[in-house]
């Protein structure tokens, strides 16, 4: 029970990563695979921010003038995740546009049927 209450954030992040990986491996519809990508990305961001958390810390902004500097959360993972979120949405938009063009060409979005029609 103590193990569960301490590591609940890790369990949540890794559950999202595994559900995203399962959708990637098993599902046949192309848009569902792209939804799985988005869930996998959200799990990874949650894991990165959980690593940088310090117990009883506060956000890294000096809003009041007398704030102590040794009780702040690590700011480096937050900067990395900010970059990663924007790149994630760019890749997602490109993947969705490719899916729309594939539907216009083949007439179906089933991955097994698209693989069978070669050239």
């Amino acid at each position: 029970m103590n193990f569960l209450s301490e590591n609940i954030y890790y369990i949540g992040a890794f559950s999202l990563i595994f559900i995203g990986l399962y959708i990637l491996l098993v599902k046949k519809n192309l848009i569902k695979v792209i939804i799985g990508f988005s869930i996998l990305d959200t799990g990874i961001y949650l894991f990165l921010i959980t690593i940088g958390y310090i117990a009883d810390g506060t956000a890294p902004i000096f809003s009041k003038s007398g704030l102590k500097a040794d009780r702040m959360v690590d700011p480096v993972p937050q900067a990395l995740v900010l970059t990663a979120i924007v790149i994630g949405v760019a890749v997602l938009a490109l993947a969705v546009s490719l899916a729309v063009r594939l539907y216009g060409h083949y007439g179906t979005l089933n991955l097994r049927k698209i693989k069978e029609q070669r050239w």
Binding site: E6, N7, Y9, Y10, F14, F18, L21, Y22, L25, V26, T50, I51, G52, Y53, I54, A55, A59, P60, I61, F62, S63, S65, A69, D70, M72, D74, P75, V76, Q78, A79, L82, T83, I85, V86, I87, V89, A90, V91, A93, L94, V96, S97, L98, V100, R101, G104
Partner: protein, 228 residues
């Protein structure tokens, strides 16, 4: 059969990861560079928001790479849809009702004003260029969904995106000419916690906000407009 193999593989990976999670305890400081950024952040860059000073001050070259990736994705999306023709005469089945139309027209300037406020105060409060740009793009998405029939001005959007990108690179080259490094902070840092402080950080964030906002709006416009 495929589901069974998938579940077995994922169970093996999950067992391996949970064995190695014991080395990463929760809530204990793990890196040393974070302490340096927190202690010396205000003297060296002048911004109160430490995450802003990391993203745009200490590691601004990575931000330039991220803007390049966003730009490449927008170009790729535009190139994929360039063979379709624009819908000239559109027959809408039912236009939006009066309440939705008036509500969207009323909310649009408020959301754009919030986005501009978040962009400008990026170095004082949580926020910055990326968050404000996304809020401006969602305001334009609301206009596309609520008031059908209004489109953005293509020339204005192209000029805004070009001005944003060029301002970023020009600030970097001016830093290279006058100071020592690319993207060197050549304007004096004022006193902290005032609006005109932190050197070139507010200027870079305004350029990033303009570029990201117009780019995401262009992506949504390409997806809605060009059809088959």
């Amino acid at each position: 059969m495929r589901k069974l193999i998938g579940i077995i593989l994922l169970t093996i990976i999950a067992a391996g990861i949970s064995l190695s999670l014991k080395e990463i305890p929760f809530g204990i400081p793990k890196t040393i560079i974070g302490n340096h950024f927190i202690n010396k952040g205000i003297e060296e860059t002048g911004a109160i928001n430490i995450v802003t000073s990391v993203v745009v001050g200490y590691r601004s070259f990575d931000t330039l790479g991220e803007i390049t990736v966003l730009f490449t994705a927008a170009i790729g999306l535009g190139a994929l849809f360039s063979l379709y023709k624009n819908k000239k005469t559109v027959i809408y089945k039912e236009p939006a009702s009066l309440i939705v139309y008036t509500g969207c027209r009323f909310l649009f300037p408020i959301i754009v004003l919030t986005g501009i406020y978040i962009i400008i105060h990026g170095h004082l409060t949580p926020g910055g260029g990326f968050q404000g740009g996304a809020i401006i793009a969602s305001a334009f998405l609301l206009m596309y969904l609520g008031c059908t029939g209004k489109r953005i001005n293509y020339k204005l959007s192209t000029i805004a995106e070009a001005v944003g990108g060029l301002t970023f690179i020009t600030l970097g080259i001016v830093g290279l000419i006058t100071g020592k490094d690319f993207l060197f902070n050549f304007i004096s840092k004022g006193e902290p916690a005032s609006l005109m402080s932190a050197g070139i950080i507010p200027l870079i964030y305004m350029a990033i906000g303009l570029k990201v906002g117009s780019e995401l709006t262009g992506i949504i416009d390409n997806l809605i407009e060009k059809s088959q």
